[in-house]
Symmetry: C2
Subunit: 234 residues, 2 copies
Amino acid sequence: MGIKERQERDRETVRRAILDAARDLFVSEGYANVSIRKIAERIEYSPAALYSYFPSKDDIFFALAAEGFTRLNEAAPIGSGGRFHPAAPATPLDHLRESVWRIYQFSYDHPEYFALMFLDRTVPRLSQADECFVSAREGKERLRALIQSCIDAGDLPATLRAEVALRLLTVGLVGMAALRISHRISERERPDALARDLLDVTIAGLQSGLALRSYSFEEWPLEIAAHDPSSPSS
Amino acid sequence: MGIKERQERDRETVRRAILDAARDLFVSEGYANVSIRKIAERIEYSPAALYSYFPSKDDIFFALAAEGFTRLNEAAPIGSGGRFHPAAPATPLDHLRESVWRIYQFSYDHPEYFALMFLDRTVPRLSQADECFVSAREGKERLRALIQSCIDAGDLPATLRAEVALRLLTVGLVGMAALRISHRISERERPDALARDLLDVTIAGLQSGLALRSYSFEEWPLEIAAHDPSSPSS
DNA sequence: TCACCATCTGAACAGTGTTCAGGGCGCTAA
DNA sequence: TTAGCGCCCTGAACACTGTTCAGATGGTGA
């Protein structure tokens, strides 16, 4: 019996249409200005129909955020399996530079995804949407491994902890992207050049072998956000 | 006749009450979850009354943003008149470090103000609310002068442009604050220590004398945001 | 053929920002 | 004192929002 399968396919098609419509509308009008009714109208369904596919508007948001992390991972592919390949043309440091830079580029290519993933405060508890962060963790781990290979190759000080360096390298560009996306910085200030400089300055700073305060915290948490993993899920 | 004056005072009192109520509600419930009706209820007025004090909810927002910049300037006072005093106890660089750090601290003490000023994308065209940015420009100019004094004192390379260094120093902390405020980073990662390290790393990077791409753009714009001042205002 | 069941719809509820005619009250001038 | 003027505020309404639910619809399996 292929009927069940066809029904599931139909359902998936509608679900996909909802997500596509929502994404297009978010990009062109901004998340806050998109209503369930607009999405429903776009796909020629009643607003109520959407609630049999997603429990709430927030969950449409979460589904798109998960897509965003997957896209970011696709846009910033680092070597193979996270280990730097010794026969690659560039040095590990160049590799790292480019990989981090691609995160910034992603904020340029998909500002709505980026805001959704890293900036938006209006959507509650992004931290608890578990499956969103599988790809996020993957990408993070690959970058961490790449930084470790830079340390092993002697391009970064041996005293440096890869987890800390990872945060320091990415957070600045997140700030840059945040300012640009929310129009807090003029195009005349050439945000791209500033971002590039910020990356170079941070790397140079890391290479200086400065002793870091955040060097020793207990363990590197796998979660992006701040909820106690030891507490039982309700 | 003191009647006009008293009327103006009464009006200012109500205006002040609106702003206070809005600020309290924003802090405790978040901007998006605060309605005109809630603010009106708090001050025991009808919702419509507020519209004779502020043209829209956005303008209440703008008024608070302006307050935010004033508060930030008060929280991060730098020397006197922007010029570093030679008899001060610390070096210019220590002075700079502390001044920049206070911006991050501000994001901790007043997260709602901070989000409002630097992060929120839901409110349109923050750039066009002119008078908001008088104090913003003042604070920026003072920091720039402080950085210049660091360069003059030899603590930072003479090839460095103060405007560029200013951006590079602040943008990273903005990113850090953004991640923390929007719960994208765990407290277990000790964001404060990371932020402090980021500041130190950036300064170390600047001291390395690296050649910067964004060194030479035409002129430093006085505006925070990106609108062409040469185009006529509609 | 008929009962079943998932799916979708129309209507409604409670909430939002905003507008507007009108009432009330204090001030000014006759 | 009183008439009138003008400001300020209110209640009601409009057009939205996210969400819920009874009921219509129509394909599915017996």
